[in-house]
Amino acid sequence: MELFLHQVLAGIATGGIYACMALAIVMIYQAIDHLNFAQGEMAMFSTFIAWQLIQWGVPYWAAFFVTLALSFAGGYLIERVIMKPIQNAPILSHVALFIALFAVINSLAGFIWEYQIKTFPTPFGTHPLFGVGLMSAHDAGMIGVTVAMLVFLYLFFRYTRIGLAMRAAAANPESARLVGIRVGWMLALGWGMAAAIGAVAGMLIAPVVFLEPNMMASILLYGFAGAVVGGLTSPGGAVIGGVLVGVIENLAGTFIPYVGRELKLSIALALIVFVLTVKPSGLFGRSVVHRV
């Protein structure tokens, strides 16, 4: 029983990482109605920028917020410059573009900063909480920041005009134009916000998994898993989904034979498939009702 509880706790700790990523993913999904496969790379690049600033002597929190601003601008620009030309193209072309972005950003990061792993500082300290070293102050801090972002996003989308305009622009761009919403700006805003959230995710994850160009690949996957399990229309669900994925991954790794590190990833994914077959819109997603 004790082992079980320990593993749950450890799972919540890793789940915090996935939850953070899942939040960024749901954010972009709400803005542009598809999943951005380059999201993880953008987050990784942002983290490198922060690292570089810190290397140049900039204090942590200053670097943090400057990186946020730069990431926001970067996301905004990517939408306006790279995505806008194909705004009317079919989804498959968009996905191919995301893949291209992934390749470009990953390669650039490797070229500029090389592939040796680097350490990234944490503002929360690494001393363990609850004894035995299963959850550190950083892990708890990460969950705290994720929840704070979640609350901010909820309030933003539910109660502000821009939030409503963004939701409308994503749901039905043509109708949104007909009420005077500048859809292009809304899309770009969504990208900017997603990039900023991704940057936060990256800067919180890097202290744990160490900074290198390929650090986000599997995390992105777990993030997708969490987002889908929780429901792509629900930011809260994404966070819970991310934590759930962390817990289940850990429990599966501990208690099921043969599932060593090899299959941990597959378990997470088997989870996605299972949840999707049983409840296609995710645990907390709002299913869309269409009257034919």
């Binding site: 999904y29 598809h34 999943l35 790279i82 030309p85 194909i86 193209a89 079919p90 989804i91 498959l92 072309s93 996905v95 191919a96 573009l97 893949i99 291209a100 972005l101 992934f102 390749a103 470009v104 990953n106 390669s107 650039l108 490797g110 070229f111 996957l221 997708f224 889908v228 792509l232 043969y258 090899e262 299959l263 990833l265 597959s266 994914l269 088997a270 996605i272 498939v273 999707l276 077959t277 296609p280 034919v292």
Partner: protein, 331 residues
């Protein structure tokens, strides 16, 4: 006379244009192995293999509208089936193709069943899961006696039969060419048939298709199966051509490559698969030549440019050029 020719090339229905296309391809393809170096023959063969795999993906995604990022898994199953049959059971290489195809058909059909409930993004994720899981499953210890674990299986390249004066690379080239021609021909027929129309109807408007009597579940699962069949046969061929199968050859990166090949070649175009295969096989090499450190970035930029300039892929561009040419000569 010229106008009729051009009209037939650009018309989707007239078979003459297609036969002409086939003939042209054959004319260029047949003498090639004697004109170029062996390594290039190997690459051309691999291009045809990828073309078959991309065609499989096209049947599912381009013609039936089911988004798959998991085709590397079917490619892997096909490759391993062939490898295990040849290595452990001494089966002749030509028999491994249909067997691999059938195994993948069943796998695809079975995967297609639960996938029926998933749409768009969700289906993409589920297939993504499949693609990522496959290398890990192949590395599993209990399966090692068959799969050879991380080290994989080595295959011996077959010699030309009937004492033909061809080296193994050249023979494989012609063998692959024959298989590719047959499969492409079948694909054209499938797409033009009633089943093909049902497939496309499901892609364009599933509710209407259902209302007109198309059995959605059956058609979609069957399409998944056929698509997996094609990619599985490609995998088997690929394994024989490369002489080696190992788990890390079949990662998600392969699925991405197939997908990129699909978009670049032209979604919904059978001929496009060949263009897509060329892009996927040769452009990464070109990118590395341009800049070793920034190879990925160069590749990505080329892909972005292609998507901007050719939204319907190479095939779409070709069609546009032919149509313009046809209407210009009509005046």
């Amino acid at each position: 006379m010229k106008q009729a020719l051009l009209a037939s090339l650009t018309s989707a229905r007239a078979p003459y244009g297609r036969w002409l296309g086939f003939a042209l391809v054959l004319l260029i393809a047949l003498p090639l192995p004697f004109l170029v170096k062996n390594f290039f023959v190997f690459q051309l063969t691999l291009a045809m293999v990828y073309a078959i795999a991309i065609l499989g993906l096209n049947l599912l995604t381009g013609f039936n509208g089911q988004f798959s990022l998991g085709h590397s898994a079917f490619y892997a199953i096909g490759a391993y089936t062939a490898a295990i049959l040849m290595d452990q059971y001494g089966v002749a290489y030509y028999w491994t193709l249909p067997i691999a195809g059938v195994v993948c058909f069943v796998a695809g059909f079975l995967f297609g069943l639960p996938a029926l409930r998933l749409e768009g993004v969700y289906l993409a994720l589920a297939t993504f899961a499949l693609a990522v899981a496959m290398p890990q499953i192949l590395k599993l210890s209990p399966l090692e006696p068959w799969t050879g674990g991380v080290q994989g299986i080595v295959i011996i390249k077959p010699n030309a039969p009937f004492g033909l004066r061809l080296n193994p690379d050249q023979w494989l080239y012609y063998f692959t060419l024959a298989v590719a021609l047959v499969l492409f021909f079948c694909a054209y027929n499938l797409v033009a048939s009633r089943t093909g129309r049902a497939m496309k109807a499901i892609r364009d408007n599933p509710i209407a298709a259902n209302a007109m009597g198309v059995n959605l579940s059956l058609c979609k699962s069957l399409t998944f199966g056929v698509s997996a069949f094609y990619t599985g046969v490609a995998g088997a061929l690929g394994g024989i051509v490369v002489q080696f199968v190992a788990p890390d050859s079949f990662t998600f990166g392969l699925s991405v490559a197939l997908f990129v090949g699909l978009v670049v070649g032209g979604v919904g175009s059978i001929a496009g698969a060949l263009f897509g295969a060329w892009f996927v096989l040769f452009v990464p090499n070109i990118a590395e030549h341009v800049s070793k450190g920034l190879a990925g970035a160069v590749y990505g930029i080329m892909l972005i440019l292609l998507i901007y300039l050719m939204p319907s892929g190479f095939a779409g561009l070709l069609r546009l050029v032919l149509v313009r040419f046809a209407s210009a000569s009509r005046r």
